[in-house]
Amino acid sequence: MTTYNNSLTIKIGLFAIVSMLLLIFLFPFYYALITSFKSGSSIFEVSFFPKELSLDNYIAIFDEQPFGRNFLNSLTISIAAGVISLLFGMIAAMPLGRFRFNGQRLILLTVLIVSMFPQVAVLSGMFRLIRALELFNNPMGLVLCYLIFTLPFTVWVLTSFIRNLPVEVEEAAIMDGANPWVLLTKIFFPMMWPAIITTGLLVFVVAWNEFLFAMTFTLSSHQRTIPVAIALINGGSQFEVPWGRIMAASVTVSVPMIALVLIFQRQIVSGLTAGAVKG
């Protein structure tokens, strides 16, 4: 009887904690959603349920500013950063994960330290680089900047993934006289698909969310990425901040990310733990 009571209290306690955590972590999104459907002065009244479903704010963000273009910019930049770092990362991760050579430890430490660089520390040098390559106010410049954190991250996660792969297949291939290039393309790449998807996703998320470089290295509203566009939505004065529009933009950006998380939950968790626990 006591055990039954015990398990019941535990169940109720667990239920209480889970609901409280869900409330704390998800309610802000719900509140943003209902705010985004309000129009006019009703926005200034606190309510917990949607009273109207006005799409004014959504129409306005695409109408009054190039939000669609910003969306496309973010998408292109994030995908490009992901593809480039995956390409370089995969090639580099194989020797780091499998070979033994002098200087290996030094390289891994360098990669680790670069991934921890504070963004501000490279801001002025990066500005110089962007200017020298004439990529200022150009989304391609941002792709280049983002490599500073996506590349070390990719190398690190893929290296730890390769370390955990069984060596038997590789040994068999070596016995059969495969050279490192064949090893890389015929043995490793096919086995690495799960890791590639995970790392690609995480790089995409990080690049999609980046703010400081994007704000500093773009000038015109057409070249901005989504986070910068949202940060710069302003009314006439500080007393007329168009909250409805900001919330509509926030919801628009969040929906694809939430979809990604729900679909790839398992991959993201495994990637995060692989990348960070070992970092």
Partner: protein, 314 residues
């Protein structure tokens, strides 16, 4: 006998070939890092000793350590003499310690819940990931709206519950701004910390728990006696990782309180000088100082967890 020698010879040369090959394969990544990391960082260091401005990048003169400290007619100028710089250093430290402490506490609770099996637990995990995936700009904006002093939900609720009599200006009253920013940052990153701790929890051996169960030990005692000591490595990694991120915090602070002094961190200070004041030299000096501070902390951390990291890096 001869045959064996020959094959060993071949093995050696294969190892050697592998070494060259390794460097060849590493070349693209190394060149990439040289361009996007080493080169810009060197330029930041370089600019720190010049009077360059953002508008005239190539027009500068060397001024030595003048950006850091300079004595002009008996008064000290420069970064080291600027009280606002030291204020931002202090703010950064307060932010880092406050947010990491809350995140570890909250993260551990979330991780423990995630580690439990219940109906819909995978959905719960996915839901907890959402705040981490959303751009900081977005979450900071949503919270800024909820914390609005006149129309915000938080003040509305607190007044309804009679916890406060008058609305609080969470993002303007300097008694509250730092606390607010810390809490919003914790809201965003606790789930991430939870993931790191969860990874530690999942590696725990089951038999300790079975033994404890057989002996009828109270769950709270089990947590402090078994779980906590065993997940200590995971906790250490989470603390260090988050500490390094918190020390360079920019997005959440800048979006919520702009360049306000009460929450200004080192990154905000450096960016303001670099971009808003166009003072590339002085801003680079601040960035260099920030880098040095963080670099020392990294080295300290690596030395502290040398054993753990080396096992992995080996």
């Amino acid at each position: 006998m001869e045959k064996r020698l020959k094959s060993e010879d071949k093995k050696l040369s294969y190892q050697k070939r592998k070494g060259y090959c390794a460097w060849l394969l590493l070349l693209p990544m190394l060149v990439g890092l040289l361009i996007v990391a080493v080169w810009p960082l060197s330029y930041t260091f370089f600019y720190a000793f010049t009077d360059a401005s953002l508008s005239t990048l190539s027009n500068y003169t060397f001024i030595g350590f003048d950006n850091f400290w300079v004595n002009d007619k008996g008064y000290w100028y420069g970064l080291v003499a600027d009280p606002l710089w030291w204020h931002s250093v202090w703010n950064t430290i307060v932010f880092a310690i406050g947010s990491v402490a809350i995140e570890i506490l909250l993260g551990t609770i979330i991780a423990l819940v995630m580690h439990t099996k219940f109906i819909g637990c995978s959905l719960f995990r996915a839901a907890m990931l959402i705040p981490w995936t959303i751009p900081t700009v977005v979450s900071a904006k949503i919270w800024t709206w909820m914390l609005h002093d006149q129309y915000g939900l938080i003040n509305y609720l607190l007044i309804k519950l009679r916890l406060i009599a008058n609305p609080i200006a969470w993002l303007a009253d300097h008694n509250f701004t730092m606390l607010t920013v810390i809490l919003v940052d914790s809201w965003k990153t606790s789930p991430f910390v939870a993931m790191l701790i969860l990874a530690g929890l999942q590696m725990l051996p089951n038999d300790c728990y079975e033994a404890a169960k057989v002996d009828g030990i109270h769950p709270i005692k089990v947590f402090f006696g078994i779980t906590l000591p065993l997940i200590r490595p995971a906790l250490t990694v989470a603390v260090l990782f988050r500490l390094l991120e918190a020390l360079r915090v920019f997005d959440v602070v800048y979006i919520m309180t702009g360049n306000a002094e009460s929450t200004m961190t080192m990154s905000v200070y450096a960016r303001q000088n670099l971009v808003d004041f166009q003072d590339l030299g002085y801003g680079s000096a601040a960035s260099t100082m920030l880098f040095i501070v963080i670099f020392f902390i990294i080295v300290l951390c690596l030395a502290m967890m040398r054993a753990d990291v080396m096992k992995e890096v080996r």
